[in-house]
């Protein structure tokens, strides 16, 4: 089932959680809503579920307007951040809940629950209570419970937020495989870009109640639509300069900016990821700036070099180990830093 939301606006008192947000989710997709806290991603998810009512705008399931339909009648599976398992019920009864309230036959309930317990690999723990389970197990029970009544839409609010790194890693892969198996349209909220990129087909990056960018993980990472997206998706080096005629000028360095061919000069910001900077012993004729090395930290396959630019910029460069060995860098040395790739944003964008 596809989902589309049109011009959703939601305010909490004076705070605007969502401002005219529109989004299309094709059927069968696994979509991530990614953004910092307060960006409106959870509010959007809850409105799509029907747990929250929008002040303006509409929500459509396929082509049916469900804006006024209560969550109870929408038949969506919702996985809560803290699982919200029924603590006085066994795992079996938790999973069976959605079927019992629909008055399904006992035999059908048992068959469906066993099927789901098998799916979440907890067949043997049906008689346990939630308090006897680990965090990762609880999360899977919550997922099975949400899936029990065969929802047309699965919504997950920070599904791995409360888990430790290793369990989180396992569950991510598991969720991805599960989605490939059951193929229900799924939307999950996360503030972790790695999680969003690893699990989802498409990523929606949100900030201040608006959608900044929608695209495949690769798209969003390689072609960020705004300084916010660039900044939010990992470390980035920032240079301030001006752009004119398709070239950005930062100090003595020029960087190609074909997306800004205008003739008049405008202030611009140049963003370069640490792994897109290289270090050279000699000046690269107008495409590098001078910097001195402040520290060198080996990080497994990469070596992270901290530098101070000639105009006082704080720079970070991730070099491949072999490249670092070839250069033989030492703290205090003066070198040249050159971007292999850069993104230039002119200043009518504000972070």
């Amino acid at each position: 089932m596809s989902v589309s939301v049109k011009n959703l606006t939601k305010r909490f008192g004076g705070f605007t959680a969502l401002e005219r947000v529109s989004l299309e989710v094709p059927g069968g997709e696994l979509l991530a809503l990614l953004g910092p806290s307060g960006s409106g991603k959870t509010t959007l998810l809850r409105i799509i579920a029907g747990l929250e009512a929008a002040d303006e705008g509409t929500v459509l399931y396929s082509d049916e307007d469900v804006t006024g339909v209560s969550v109870r009648e929408r038949n969506v599976g919702f996985v809560f951040q803290h699982y919200a398992l029924f603590r006085h019920m066994t795992v079996f009864e938790n999973v069976a809940f959605g079927l019992r309230v629909r008055k399904r036959k006992e035999a059908d309930v048992e068959r469906r629950v066993s099927e789901l317990l098998h799916l979440i690999q907890l067949e043997s723990l049906g008689r346990r209570y939630p308090s006897q389970l680990s965090g990762g197990q609880r999360q899977r029970v919550a997922l099975a419970r949400a899936l029990a009544a065969e929802p047309k839409l699965l919504l997950l609010d920070e599904p791995f937020g409360a888990l430790d790194a290793k369990v989180r890693q396992e569950l991510r892969g598991w969720l991805r495989r599960l989605h490939e198996e059951i193929h229900v349209t799924s939307i999950f909220v996360t503030h972790d870009q790695e999680e969003a990129f690893e699990v989802s087909d498409r990523v929606v990056v949100m900030n201040h109640g608006k959608i900044e960018q929608v695209g495949s993980p690769e798209d969003v990472f390689e072609h960020p639509a705004s300084p916010f997206v660039m900044d939010f998706l990992g470390n980035v080096n920032v240079f301030h300069g001006r752009v004119q005629g398709g070239l950005a000028h930062v100090g003595g360095m020029s960087v190609a900016a074909p997306e800004h061919p205008e003739h008049h000069s405008r202030p611009a910001t140049v963003y370069v990821r640490p792994h897109e900077l290289d270090i050279h012993r000699q000046s690269m004729n107008g495409s590098s700036i001078r910097a001195s090395i402040v520290r060198i930290n080996p990080l497994g396959a990469a070596v992270r070099v901290g530098l101070t630019g000639e105009n006082g910029e704080v720079l970070q460069v991730d070099l491949h180990r072999d490249r670092a060995a070839e250069l033989g860098l030492a703290v205090g040395e003066s070198v040249w830093v050159a971007p292999r790739k850069a993104r230039v944003f002119i200043h009518d964008y504000q972070i």
């Binding site: 747990l51 599976g77 803290h82 603590r87 019992r100 888990l163």
Partner: protein
Amino acid sequence: MSSAAPAVAVTPAPAAVGPRGVSREDPLVVRIALTGTALLVIGVLIVIPVADVFYQALRGGIGAYAKSLFGDADTWAAIKLTLTVAPIAVLANTVFGIAAAWAIARFEFRGRSVLTTVIDLPFSVSPVVAGLVFVLLFGLQGYFGHWLRDHGLKIIFATPGIILATAFVTFPFVARELIPTMEALGDEEETAAVSLGANAWQMFWRVTLPNIKWGLLHGIILCNARAMGEFGAVYVVSGRITGQTDTIPLRVEKLFQEYDTPGSFAVASLLTVLALVTLVIKVFLEEKRRRELAEATRFEAGGGEKS
């Protein structure tokens, strides 16, 4: 063989209690004095009077005791009245208590703090005043008195008035038990139930009620004990018509005033047994309830820390 002896000597003496353990050890005299005083006070104020109730009640033998309780039509009427009034008042307060706790724990609304305070009002108002308020409202000279008389309804000096007064005095018990429990529980499980397709009724019976059951029972038990024992408010509204509007506590007082000491104590022993039974159930429920609340708090805060 004496080989065991050196082995015992080798094990470190329990002197390693640590400075904290030592500093908390008060001198023996102080401990005996404190414990002794406490036991003495409890003995004089509680144990002896309670024991005396049974002693006085049973002094004339078990036959006289049974006769005082079941042979006297007026006493029997008082027992029946109390057994009618208390369940109705408790039931009403259970429903109101759940509703009030729900409103306070689940919703943000204007007047929420006012409601929280008003729930406690019956605890701070003297029961006599509470009774007078009902007389003022529903008595013959009261605001609704004429209307009630014209329609042939009797509240004051009748069972409805006794129920009203009892319910008023015992109103806070259930609500006050439930508010902290429901606040600690949060509404996530309830929201989850609704998202899984439960209607409000299913949500309440299958999710909310099982989670609050011990707290609720605790409230009901205390509410019942107080409802059966209420004297002041009922004294004012009942009119003390022997055989008609006397409840157990009023009957105790009346028998005592009429110099029927054995009869008075026999009836009093009923209330005392009720108190003791309540106490036992209360202790049992408190343990359950403590766990319920701890579980709620841990679940709320813990989420999935354990993994």
